[in-house]
């Protein structure tokens, strides 16, 4: 029987032993092995054989590697040399790594925001299978129809709302939601204390609160479970406390009550479901669309243009915010490319300065591959340090992501695995982008040529010169494009902030009277109460004017489709106009100083059919005609509105054209769940507590919430455009400063290398002015090409940003003048010092030093 161990050993050694003596060496081993087996036993001999074979193999491998270094040792040598070179002159490397870190940091942070808001699954177990729907109102029938599709493990419903929680210290407002009992199981979350709602319909009068509410409002009261609290005027029992990290359906939700689909809720209920494993999203989406079409014969309210099925993780942000986030990510990517180009030109300039050293290496026998390898090792260090510092920067930046973006997602905006992957990919891309061109161009050397010339006289090889200038021109072009985009955004924001809203909100405070419907069952009683509130407020000496309303600009009113067709029929969509509807008391228009331009304002004896319309709606419905006395219908609502007056248009402070719609006003009506009192004060405004006492005197069940002042509310709306403008502005500043810095360093290098040439020119009679012009020309040619490219790029950027423009156009002359001015000034500043240095070269000193 052949000895298996021997066969293995022999096979292994065949790879290592030199062919010429292989047989005899193996013969010796075999002879000794047989001897061992015969005398020392099989196991001992086997161990001995392995040991001997190992010794042989190692000795021959070591002998062989003495002649040809292994890959790992080559790599180690390259890295070691690169490290020594970098630490000897760390300046350019640190500069490059810093620029890369800024690029990677900005891009990673922006990516984290986009990822958390738009891409990542919801932060629940199996979050990628959680979907929600927002097209049709949920009825018990719809829920059953979804369940019957057999695509879902579970289907539940929820409706977001705001809860006023009454405590000893006053009323606190918390965002909450009514949810069906299975929602918590569907999301696979458990309460930290107590329990969640019991199966369908068995938990009325119960509430679950978040640990956040428990700690902040109730001071972490240990006897919280079973305690009664007052939510929206109703008494409920707290049965469970959810972990502080749990937020659903919105990032601000902290209170939950049971949802009964047969009772009307303040907001429209929506469906959330967990897909069965293996059910593709696209299939589910298609089937739900079909289902929705079948169910559309039942009464349903459309909720806008959201897709019928959405991943739960995808934030419910407007298309506008969605677009803005992607836009900023593109902006960050552009900045990243600018920084990479900058690092690339820096490295190239640095390599050109080392031409003599590289030439010496080539003369001593270093191959180009070897030089490339060593250069690559240097760049790898810069890339790793840059990526590391970039991650740290990104981590710091995520804390600064504006609320207008982070407030919309259930996910935390953090540097998670995906962001780290993105950062690493960026690091690798950066190293390739920045290192490849310099390494390729910079290591191309004619050894003899570079040694024959003195280092100062090497006027930069053509290839390296052209590559550096092209990189710079590209950089200037990108910076130019970014600058065009960001100046347009900043100008849009400024225009928006200065736009006359069409109403005078300064000095007006707003309070919200709550629990009206809980306090007064009948419309008559409610109308009576509303009248009392109005009268008592007006009677106060510190209040000059009072107006009541159900909606408050700049919050959009209830939206509807105004049309001229007969009331109660389905309107022709194309001939309809989306409008905001504000239900207000007659004092509303005078209080906000909204002028009535035709007809009259609302009067106390007007019915709900009488309407005052905005100028824009009048122009759209009856262009060029007198609208007074004409009628229009809204949606499928029965009855028509009769126009009694035309009011000046009000402008909502938004760039999003979807939101600033034409408006019309109708009388308040008798029944209302929410009621706002708009108060223009005489001197100092009354305290909130005084106003609360006032409404409590009318009925003790009534509550009162302070709302933000009208002026502040307008400012709130400016936050998104402001955030976009600020971020884009920051990107542009970085790009411009970097480009100018890049131009400065490259010109300084170039001047350093051409000192001898300048010296000779000076000796031959060239004036300092002439030499200065030479350098300036070099720099400004690059900038000129950059601006030409940037003009085209900028125009494209401006066009793609059209949706974000407000009061400016793509060809806005001020923007373009500002861009050209900024780039030209920055370039002149950057080229000035190198040019002056060149002009100051003294031929005598130069010759002495040679």
């Amino acid at each position: 029987m052949p000895d298996l161990l021997w066969l293995v050993v022999e096979r292994g050694l065949r790879q290592v032993l030199p062919a010429v003596h292989r047989l005899s060496t193996l013969g010796d081993l075999s002879e000794d092995y047989q001897h061992r087996r015969a005398t020392g036993g099989r196991i001992g001999a086997s161990c001995w054989l392995v040991r001997e074979a190992w010794s042989l193999g190692r000795a021959y491998r070591a002998a062989a590697s003495g002649e040809r270094p292994s890959l790992s040792s080559t790599l180690a040598t390259d890295l070691h040399r690169a490290w020594r070179r970098l630490t000897a002159t760390p300046g350019p490397a640190i500069h490059s790594a810093l620029l890369l870190a800024i690029g990677i940091g900005l891009t990673t942070a922006t990516f984290s925001a986009v990822d958390a808001v738009l891409l990542r699954p919801a932060p629940f177990d199996g979050g990628d299978r959680l979907v929600r729907q927002g097209l049709y109102e949920v009825t018990p029938a719809l829920l059953e129809a979804w369940r019957a599709t057999d695509m879902f493990e579970d289907v539940e419903a929820y409706a977001g709302s705001t809860f006023e929680l009454e405590t000893d210290l006053g009323t606190v407002s918390w965002e909450g939601a009514s949810v069906t009992s299975g929602v918590f199981d569907l999301l696979a979350v458990r309460p930290t204390r107590g329990r969640v709602f019991q199966a369908r319909g068995r938990s009325p009068g119960e509430a679950v609160i978040s640990e956040v509410v428990w700690r902040s409002t109730f001071g972490g009261d240990p006897s919280m479970l079973g305690r009664r609290i007052h939510l929206n005027g109703a008494s409920v029992v707290v049965v469970g406390i959810m972990p502080a990290s749990f937020r659903f359906p919105d990032s601000t939700t902290v209170v939950w009550t049971p949802l009964d689909l047969n009772v009307e809720t303040p907001t429209i209920p929506q469906v959330v479901g967990r897909l069965k494993p293996g059910v593709p999203f696209s299939i589910a989406e298609a089937r739900i669309k079909l289902l929705a079409r079948e169910l559309s014969r039942q009464p349903a309210r459309r909720l806008g243009s959201e897709p019928p099925l959405q991943h739960l993780g995808v934030a419910r942000v407007s298309g506008f915010t969605h677009q803005a986030l992607w836009l900023l990510l593109w902006g960050a990517a552009l900045v990243f490319v600018v920084l990479c180009a900058n690092v690339s030109s820096l490295l190239l300039a640095n390599l050109s300065a080392r031409q003599r050293e590289l030439g010496t290496c080539t003369a001593l026998g270093a191959t180009r591959i070897r030089l490339l390898r060593e250069t690559a090792a240097e760049h790898a260090y810069i890339g790793v340090v840059g990526a590391g510092a970039g991650v740290a920067l990104a981590w710091a930046l995520t804390a600064l992501v504006p609320d207008v973006f982070s407030g919309h997602t259930l996910n935390l905006i953090d540097i998670d695995f995906r962001a780290l992957t993105a950062a690493s990919v960026l690091g690798v891309v950066a190293v390739i982008l920045t290192g490849l061109i310099p390494a390729w161009v910079g290591t191309r050397h004619d050894a003899i040529e570079s040694l024959r010339q003195s280092p100062q006289s090497v006027a930069g090889r053509r290839a390296s010169r052209i590559a550096t200038r092209m990189l710079l021109a590209g950089e200037v072009g990108l910076a130019c494009s970014l600058l065009v985009g960001s100046i347009l955004l900043v100008r849009s924001f400024a225009e928006l902030a200065q736009t006359d809203p069409g109403l005078a909100g300064d000095g007006v405070i707003r309070v919200r009277v709550t629990s009206l419907d809980e306090a007064f069952g009948s419309p008559v009683a409610m109308a009576q109460a509303i009248r009392s509130i109005d009268e008592q407020l007006t009677a106060r000496p510190d209040i000059a004017e009072v107006a009541l309303s159900r909606e408050l600009p700049p919050e959009p009113g209830s939206t509807g489709l105004a049309h001229l067709g007969p009331a109660g029929t389905k309107p022709n969509f194309a001939a309809s106009i989306r409008t905001h509807h504000y239900r207000v008391s007659p004092e509303f228009l005078p209080l906000y100083r909204i002028p009535v331009v035709a007809g009259r304002g609302l009067q106390s004896n007007d019915t709900e059919r009488d309407a005052v319309i905005g100028e824009r709606l009048a122009g759209l419905l009856w262009p060029g005609d007198n609208p007074l006395g004409r009628t229009f219908a809204v949606g499928t609502l029965p009855g028509e509105h009769r126009v009694v007056g035309v009011a000046a248009e009000i402008r909502l402070p938004t760039i999003d054209r979807e939101l600033d719609l034409p408006e019309y006003y109708t009388p308040l009506g008798s029944s209302s769940r929410t009621l706002y009192a708009n108060i223009r004060c005489r001197g100092t405004c009354p305290a909130e507590s005084d106003l609360r006492d006032l409404v409590r005197r009318i009925d003790p069940r009534l509550g009162l919430l302070a709302s933000t002042a009208a002026g502040d509310q307008f400012l709130q709306h400016l936050k998104l455009p402001q955030a976009i403008a600020e971020t884009a502005g920051l990107f542009a500043v970085i790009a411009v400063v970097t480009s100018a810095g890049g131009l400065f360093s490259v010109l300084t290098y170039a001047v350093g290398r051409r000192r001898r040439e300048f010296g000779i020119r000076a000796a031959l009679g060239a004036s300092p002015r002439h030499i200065r012009r030479l350098v300036m020309q070099d720099g400004l040619t690059v900038v000129g090409i950059g601006i030409a490219a940037g003009g085209v790029g900028g125009w494209m950027v401006a066009r793609s940003l059209a949706a974000f423009h407000y009061g400016v156009t793509t060809t806005d002359p001020i923007t373009w003048a500002a861009v050209l001015g900024t780039i030209a000034t920055a370039s002149l500043l950057a080229a000035w010092r190198p040019a002056r240095q060149a002009a100051r070269v003294n031929p005598v000193t130069l010759l002495r030093s040679e």
């Binding site: 030199p18 003596h21 047989l23 005899s24 060496t25 193996l26 013969g27 010796d28 081993l29 075999s30 002879e31 000794d32 047989q34 001897h35 001997e52 010794s55 042989l56 193999g57 190692r58 000795a59 021959y60 002998a63």
Partner: protein, 114 residues
Amino acid sequence: VSQPLPLLGEFEALLLLAILQLTEQGREAYGSAIREDLQQRTGRPIPRGSIYVTLDRLEEKGLLASREGGTSSARGQRPKRLFRVTPIGLRAVKSSVTALIRMHRGLEAVLGRV
């Protein structure tokens, strides 16, 4: 002009001496035998790898020569590689040993008789 003798390391000198010993005794000087002789006389274990690598090196330097010898079933019919010391090798080993003896002279009081 006499060619300068290559310098020998300690292990190289020991190997050459072992081969000379085997040849003098009329035994075959091949890998296994050389190693066994060395281990016996020096009383220390010698790694197999270093024997063969050093033998190759000495042959390369021209201090050793080798030829194919007989075979056996225990060797799996693989031939032996028989070594002999070349004249240069002989001179080199002689010079190394002489140097050692000279260096030893006068140190009997310290090192004792060897």
